[in-house]
C-alpha cells in the first residue's frame, strides 16, 4: 500500500458482488466476438435483422490492412502499461517508483491522468452548467414567450376581432339595418293591409312568389 493508511480494514467482496462481476467480466471478454467480422461471426447483425424483420444496411467489408495498425497499437499500449505497472507497483525497488513526485512535469501528467483528462470536469462545469443549462433555459424561454406568445396573441387577437365585429358590424351595422328595415316593414305593413285577407292559398302564393324571385336573383348572380 503506497497511499495514506485507511481508517478501516478493507473486506474482500462478498459473493453477491463477486459473482455478478465474474459474469460481467466473462461477458465483456466474449461478447465482442458476437459480431467479429474477421472470424465471420455476425450474430448481432443477424439478430438485429431477424428482430426487426426488415433489411438492415450491410456493414462495410472487413479488411485486415485497416485493422492491423490499431491492433498493433493496442498490443503496444497493453505491453507498456503492463511493464509500467510492474515497475511502479512491483515489489522490486525501481527508479520509476516515486518519479512523479520527483519530477514536476511528470507529476502534472500524473495528475492529468488521475483526473481522467479532466473530461468529467469539462462535462460537468462547461457542458452541463455552461452550455446545457443556459441553452435549455433559453429554449424554454423561447417556447413560453415566443412560440406560445404567438399562439396566445392569435387567440387574444381572435377574441378582440370578435368583440370588434360584434360591436361595430353586428350591433352597429347589421342590427342597425335590421332596425331600419323593421321601421320600413311597419310602414309597408300598413300599405299591404289589404293583402292580409286571411286566405291560406293567398299566403302560399305570396310565399311561392317570394321564393321564385329569390331563386331568380340567385340564378342571375351565379350566371
Amino acid at each position: 500500500m503506497r497511499g495514506k493508511p485507511l481508517g478501516f480494514a478493507p473486506d474482500d467482496s462478498p459473493w453477491q458482488i463477486t459473482v455478478p462481476l465474474i459474469i460481467l467480466g466473462t461477458l465483456a471478454l466474449v461478447s465482442g466476438y458476437l459480431n467479429a467480422a474477421p472470424f465471420h461471426t455476425e450474430y448481432f447483425h443477424e439478430w438485429l435483422h431477424s428482430s426487426i424483420g426488415v433489411e438492415v444496411p450491410e456493414a462495410p467489408v472487413f479488411e485486415w490492412i485497416n485493422a492491423v495498425p490499431s491492433i498493433v497499437l493496442v498490443a503496444l499500449g497493453f505491453a507498456v502499461s503492463l511493464l509500467l505497472c510492474k515497475a511502479v507497483f512491483g515489489e522490486k525497488k525501481n527508479a520509476l517508483q516515486g518519479l512523479t513526485t520527483r519530477n514536476q512535469l511528470l507529476g502534472a501528467g500524473h495528475k492529468f491522468l488521475v483526473n481522467k483528462y479532466y473530461l468529467d470536469a469539462l462535462y460537468e462545469k462547461v457542458i452541463v452548467h455552461g452550455i446545457a443549462h443556459p441553452i435549455s433555459k433559453a429554449a424554454y424561454w423561447t417556447n413560453q414567450h415566443i412560440l406560445d406568445g404567438i399562439v396566445n396573441a392569435v387567440g387574444k387577437g381572435g377574441r378582440r376581432s370578435g368583440e370588434l365585429v360584434y360591436k361595430y358590424i353586428d350591433q352597429g351595422l347589421v342590427d342597425g339595418a335590421v332596425n331600419g328595415s323593421g321601421a320600413t316593414a311597419r310602414g309597408a305593413g300598413g300599405a299591404l293591409q289589404p293583402v292580409q285577407s286571411g286566405k291560406v292559398n293567398l299566403y302560399g302564393a305570396l310565399l311561392f312568389g317570394a321564393a321564385a324571385v329569390g331563386a331568380l336573383v340567385l340564378v342571375l348572380v351565379n350566371s
Partner: protein, 538 residues
C-alpha cells in the same frame, strides 16, 4: 382487400357506445354500477379486439382486411368504409388495451370533482373515436372520428383538470381544430382534384399520383399542418405541455398513448400514400423539423421543474424520432416510426400513470421537493426507473426499437431522396438525432436521480415506509401544491392493487416488445413495404 367478417370492425368501434347507452340509465349516484358497466364494456371491446387479432390473416397483412364499404352521405359521396391492415392493427389494439387499463386505474382514482359516470362515459366515447380513426378508410369518416376524440378530451381537461384547466382545454381544442380545418380543406381539394368521385382512401391512393405536382404540394401542406399539430411537431407543439400538465392522469395517459398517434398515423395512412410526389418534396422539411423537435423537446425537458411537464416535453422529442423515421420514406424508417408509436404509447403512458400516482401521494410534482422515492415507495421507484430506462431507448426494452432503426434509416434515406440530393442533409440529421438520445438519457436520469435517489426531503421524511402497498380511497388532487404536507403523509404508500392490475400489462409489453420486436415488425412490414414501393423501396 379481404371482405371477410365485415361486421367485426364496426362492432369493435361502436361497442363502447352501446356501453354509453346503458350507462345513461344508471343513476349518477350509483358510481360502482357506472364504473362496472364501463369496465365490462371496455373489456368486451378488447375481447372483440383479441378476436380480430386471431382472425387477422398475417400472411396478407399488406391487404385491408374485414373490409366493408357502404353509402353514408350520398350527396357528398362520403362512404362508411372501414378496413384494417398491418399498419393500423397494432394501434387499433393498443387503443383498446389502453382504454381498459385506464378505466381499471380509474376505479379508485376518479379525479376531483368526481362524477364517475360522466368521466367513464367520456372515456368510452374517446375509445370509439380512437378506434374509428384507425380503421376508417374514407377521408370524411376519418375526419369525423379524428374530431370525435376532441370533445371528450376537451371536457376531461376542462372539468377534471388542474388549476389552469380552462386555458389548457381551450388551447387544446382551438389549436387542434385549427389544424383540422386546414386538413379538411386539403381533403376536399384532394377529392376535387381526383375527379370528385370518392373520398375512399384506397381510391385516392390509386388516383392521387395523377394530381399536378404543385397542387399536390399545397394539398400536402394542408394535411401536414393538420397532422403536425396533432403529433405534435415543432413548432406546433405548445398546446401539448399545457394539456398534459393540466389533464387528469387518465387524460394524460390517453393523450400520450393514443391521441398523438392519430397525427403520425395520418401521415402514414393518408398523406404519404395518396400524395407520394409531394411527400418526397416535403420529406426534408419534415426531417429537419423532426430533429429540431428532438433537440428542442430534450432541452425543454432539461429546463423543467415539474415532473409531468418534463414527461410532456419528452413526448415532443420522442415523436420527433417517429417523424424522422417517416421522413426517410424507407421501409426501415416507417417500420421504426410505427413501432415507435406503440412503444411511446406504452412507455410514456406508464410514465404519466406513475406521475399521476406520485401527485396523488405527495400532492406535488415539483422535482426538487420529491426525493428518496426508492426508500419510501420502493416498487414505485423501481417502476419509474424501469420506465425512464425504457423511455431513453435502452436496448432490450420497447423504446429502443422505435429510436435506433429510425436513426439508422435516416443515414440511408429512400433512393428517391438520395436522387434529389438530400443524402447529406439526412446524414447530418442522423448525427443530431443521435445526440438527442444522449440528451434523453440526461433528462430522464436526472429526473430519476432527483426523485428516486437519496433521502426523502424533510417535509415528507416522516411518512411511513410502507412498501406493501394498499388501496387508496382518495381521489386525485388537482388543487394547488400543498406545502403543508404534514397532513398528507398518510397518502404516501407504495403501488396499490388497482395500479398493479393497470400497469402490469404495460410493463410486460415493454419487455416483450423490447426482446422480441419482430412480433410487431412482422405484422407491419408487408404493409410498409407496399407503401414505400412507390418511393423506390430502400
Amino acid at each position: 382487400m379481404i371482405q371477410d367478417k365485415q361486421w367485426l370492425l364496426s362492432v369493435g368501434v361502436f361497442l363502447p357506445l352501446a356501453g354509453v347507452l346503458v350507462m345513461l340509465f344508471i343513476p349518477k349516484k350509483d358510481e360502482a354500477s357506472a364504473k362496472g358497466v364501463a369496465i365490462i364494456t371496455a373489456a368486451l371491446t378488447l375481447v372483440v379486439g383479441v378476436y380480430t387479432l386471431l382472425q387477422f390473416d398475417y400472411d396478407q397483412s399488406e391487404k385491408l382486411q374485414f373490409f366493408t364499404t357502404n353509402n353514408w352521405i350520398k350527396p357528398i359521396k362520403a362512404t362508411y368504409t372501414v378496413g384494417l391492415d398491418g399498419i393500423s392493427l397494432p394501434l387499433y389494439i393498443l387503443s383498446m388495451v389502453i382504454t381498459l387499463l385506464v378505466m381499471i386505474y380509474s376505479w379508485d382514482h376518479v379525479p376531483s370533482p368526481g362524477n364517475a359516470k360522466a368521466f367513464f362515459i367520456l372515456m368510452l366515447v374517446l375509445q370509439t373515436g380512437m378506434a374509428g380513426t384507425f380503421v376508417a378508410q374514407d377521408l370524411i369518416l376519418f375526419f369525423v372520428f379524428f374530431e370525435v376524440v376532441l370533445l371528450p378530451m376537451y371536457f376531461m381537461i376542462g372539468v377534471w383538470g388542474g388549476d389552469n384547466r380552462q386555458y389548457a382545454s381551450l388551447k387544446f381544442f382551438l389549436y387542434t381544430m385549427f389544424g383540422s380545418a386546414l386538413m379538411l380543406v386539403a381533403f376536399i381539394a384532394l377529392f376535387i382534384n381526383t375527379g370528385s368521385v370518392s373520398f375512399s382512401i384506397p381510391y385516392l391512393i390509386e388516383h392521387g399520383s395523377s394530381i399536378a405536382k404543385n397542387t399536390a404540394i399545397w394539398i400536402f401542406a394542408g394535411m401536414f399542418i393538420g397532422f403536425a399539430v396533432k403529433v405534435p411537431m415543432f413548432p406546433f407543439h405548445t398546446w401539448l405541455p399545457d394539456a398534459h400538465t393540466q389533464a387528469p392522469t387518465q387524460g394524460s395517459v390517453i393523450l400520450a398513448a393514443i391521441l398523438l398517434k392519430l397525427g403520425t398515423y395520418g401521415f402514414v395512412r393518408i398523406a404519404l400514400p395518396i400524395l407520394p410526389q409531394a411527400a418526397v418534396k416535403w420529406a426534408p422539411a419534415i426531417g429537419v423539423l423532426a430533429v429540431v423537435g428532438i433537440i428542442y423537446g430534450s432541452l425543454g425537458c432539461l429546463a423543467q421543474t415539474d415532473m409531468k411537464r418534463l414527461i410532456a416535453f419528452s413526448s415532443v422529442a420522442h415523436m420527433g424520432f417517429v417523424m424522422l423515421g417517416i421522413s426517410t420514406l424507407t421501409p426501415l424508417g416507417i417500420n421504426a416510426a410505427l413501432f415507435g408509436m406503440v412503444a411511446h404509447g406504452l412507455i410514456t403512458g406508464m410514465l404519466f400513470f406513475v406521475a399521476g400516482s406520485v401527485k396523488e401521494r405527495y400532492h406535488t410534482l415539483e422535482i426538487k421537493r420529491l426525493s428518496g422515492m426508492l426508500l419510501q415507495m420502493p416498487r414505485m421507484g423501481w417502476i419509474l426507473g424501469f420506465c425512464a430506462m425504457a423511455s431513453l431507448g435502452l436496448p432490450g426494452l420497447a423504446g429502443f426499437w422505435g429510436e435506433f432503426p429510425a436513426i439508422l434509416a435516416s443515414w440511408s434515406p429512400s433512393s428517391v431522396l438520395v436522387a434529389n440530393g438530400h443524402e447529406t442533409l439526412f446524414r447530418v440529421l442522423t448525427i443530431i438525432a443521435a445526440l438527442g438520445t444522449v440528451l434523453a438519457a440526461g433528462y430522464l436520469l436526472w429526473l430519476y436521480q432527483r426523485t428516486a435517489f437519496g433521502e426523502p426531503t424533510a417535509e415528507f421524511a416522516t411518512a411511513g415506509h410502507d412498501s406493501h402497498g394498499h388501496d387508496s380511497h382518495g381521489s386525485d388532487s388537482h388543487g394547488s401544491d400543498d406545502h403543508g404536507s404534514e397532513d398528507h403523509h398518510s397518502d404516501i404508500h407504495d403501488v396499490s392493487t388497482f395500479e398493479w392490475i393497470a400497469w402490469t400489462p404495460l410493463l410486460v409489453a415493454i419487455v416483450v416488445f423490447g426482446v422480441v420486436p419482430s412480433l410487431m415488425f412482422k405484422i407491419m412490414d408487408p404493409a410498409v413495404q407496399q407503401l414505400t414501393s412507390v418511393f423506390g423501396g430502400k
